[in-house]
Symmetry: C2
Subunit: 225 residues, 2 copies
């Protein structure tokens, strides 16, 4: 039984003028209606890219576009949107088939992330960029207390540590597998080990960057499980 | 000697309030100023993604998000923006180093595409989405007379044929290299041959799709030369 949409609207601080639009945004394609949330997701994805891009553009006036792209990529991705979706309990409102429900659909990162994008797309369509920007930034800022390159990098290692402590009672171990290239252009390959099993490997221009990338991949793998 | 910015503003149908902003948007990093157009390009890239995404969302109310993404990808890419940039003679206004100038910089697809994104980013920053949307859509519609999945697919083969006729006095030849997979899920690999030399190969769910993809790659290769 789905929670009533009113409650979601209160959480968002936004009341839809057209109720059909929020229902479409919440409808997973498994629900077999003449509509689903995929078109709104397509739109919302671009809306979020612009909102987050402009936010970072203004917040970091000294950062070059490479750095801005990196920070955005760390916020604008499935596991990032999954987190935002969970923070507004979006899973409780999604319409999906019984099969998908029994398959844990309400708790899947991909479903949650897509529904979040669709909700943003729906608000944009109805009320434009300025309105949806306020709502999205407020949700993002509540979930990322400190948006900076360092803190977002720290986030993945911290997130992974929290996950592994809760699930395995252990912290992850990072091992440098290899370093390649001349001194001024070295690349490091790092593996994340949890309970003596390798979960992910990544390359990076520093050990720190490679660790963060590997941590990110491990977080995504653990969340899928 | 750069053409005067007034003329570009006339072509765009937009007068910048802040002249510094259009100068920044036109400044390639080789010009060695305290500013260049890369941050504005970062912003403009997201602005164009949203503008084109919303345009297609409204234009094709029956198309699913896979189809919309495909059409957008065929418009929103370096060679697409290069074409738009050329249609407003953007190359004549770009500030760049002598070395880059002598290296044909004004005529490079990457420089032109980036400057185009930066100009869009600059107008967005100054006047918001609605204003820049009108300008961008007008340029896009002038350059793509018929925006549809078929016509955009046709575009690459037509473009390649025009290019090869002008350059080699020949039309390209498409050869099916292989087909793989069961009947209901076949994939085709197609090569483009020009003057008995293979230029590109691509896979696709139909011969037509693979040909178009290969034609696109060949067009990009020929334009780089």
């Amino acid at each position: 039984m789905n929670k009533h949409i009113d409650i979601l609207e209160k959480t968002l601080g936004y009341k839809f003028k057209n109720e059909k639009l929020i229902i479409e945004a919440l409808t997973h394609k498994s629900y077999k209606q003449p509509y689903d949330n995929e078109r709104l997701e397509f739109l919302g994805d671009a809306v979020l890219d612009l909102i987050v891009g402009e936010y970072l553009f203004n917040k970091f006036p000294q950062s070059d576009e490479g750095k801005l792209s990196k920070i955005r990529a760390s916020l604008v991705n499935e596991s990032g949107f999954d987190m935002l979706a969970r923070s507004i309990n979006l899973g409780e409102y999604i319409y999906l088939s019984n099969a998908e429900e029994n398959n844990g659909g309400r708790d899947k990162a991909s479903l949650l992330s897509n529904a979040f994008e669709a909700i943003i797309g729906a608000i944009y369509l109805e009320s434009g960029l300025k309105v949806v920007e306020k709502i999205a930034i407020s949700i993002i800022e509540k979930n990322h207390k400190d948006i900076s390159l360092d803190s977002l990098f720290k986030d993945f290692k911290t997130t992974l540590q929290e996950l592994t402590q809760a699930r395995f009672g252990q912290i992850p171990d990072y091992q440098v597998i290899a370093s390649r290239g001349p001194d001024h252009k070295k690349e490091f390959e790092v593996a994340v080990i949890i309970e003596e099993k390798e979960y992910a490997r990544a390359m990076g221009k520093s050990k720190k960057i490679a660790q963060q990338e590997a941590a990110k991949m491990a977080v995504e793998m653990l969340k899928e499980k």
